[in-house]
């Protein structure tokens, strides 16, 4: 697996697609979910539009920056920061795994802390994985024999 930085034009195209996808996943979808939740669980952070916009914009910007700098050392903090922010966002959006919902005049409390911890693991692993992958690929590129001249 050679250590290569893709051409700038390819990275820009990929960054544009990544931005569009992230806007859909981290801003538009949570906004509509929050609109629905505002009626049954008004205290949840997802029901607050500024919460959705702030985190959505920051995650989108970090993801786009990670894609634009893909293959470079500077991409590692962007990838790790994105992963950590996703884990933090999940924690806040689920209120630590404890949500109060109003349904049919009854207050229901849903607890799922252990599930939230488990759901955070992939993001936390992603934050750790980014520097490890970079170091492994860089070492492999340094150890690879030079390509033979044509």
């Amino acid at each position: 697996m050679a250590y290569q930085v893709k051409p700038f034009s390819k990275r820009v195209v990929k960054a544009i697609w990544t931005t569009v996808l992230n806007v859909a996943v981290w801003i538009i979808a949570p906004y509509y979910l929050g609109t629905f939740l505002a009626s049954v669980a008004p205290s949840t952070p997802l029901a607050i539009p500024t919460f959705v916009y702030e985190f959505g914009i920051i995650i989108t910007v970090l993801e786009a920056a990670a894609v634009l700098t893909e293959g470079m050392a500077v991409s590692v903090p962007f990838v790790s920061a994105t992963s950590l922010l996703m884990a933090y966002y999940l924690w806040l959006a689920t209120e630590g795994g404890r949500i109060a919902v109003s349904a049919g005049g009854t207050n229901i409390v849903i607890g799922f802390q252990v599930l939230v911890y488990i759901l955070m693991i992939p993001s936390l692993w992603g934050a750790i994985k980014a520097p490890m992958v970079y170091m492994v690929r860089r070492r492999a590129a340094q150890q690879a024999p030079p390509s033979a001249p044509p």
Binding site: I108, I118, L119, I121, P122, V136, R139
Partner: protein, 158 residues
Amino acid sequence: MKVKTPRGLKIIRTVTIVITLVLLAVVGSVIYSAYEEYNVAMNEFKGGQGIASTTSQQGLAQMATVNVTIPNKGLYDLNVTVSCPTQQQGSNAYCQSGTVMVAPGQQGILTFHVVVQDLSAFLGGNREINATVSVSLVPYASLSFVVNLGNYLKQGGA
């Protein structure tokens, strides 16, 4: 010339795949178990099925013992608890907590008591006996809500 994938990268990918598979298995099994327990709650207690009660005299008070048969059709232990607040001085009616842990594929009986000091006063006046019902898929998820047990008591016993 094809470059060999570094061993470190293979290990990282393996760990990533394992984490993803474990996550999918846990979340999928919890959703399945929750769905099965929801079906049980909606279908198996219709018309008071699975709920039996007996009344007895305790001095001047009437005590209703309620037994609820709870099947567990999910994949995890099911814990059902009826938690009653500490009896307040002067209160005419109160409940005593009960809990049951049911293993997957098994049935358990939840038993709790409702005590009414003055039945006629209870039936003609304040029929509030609040209890918190908690249902947990141990250890992943739980659901709790407050219910007024007085709404389910009829003259002559539960």
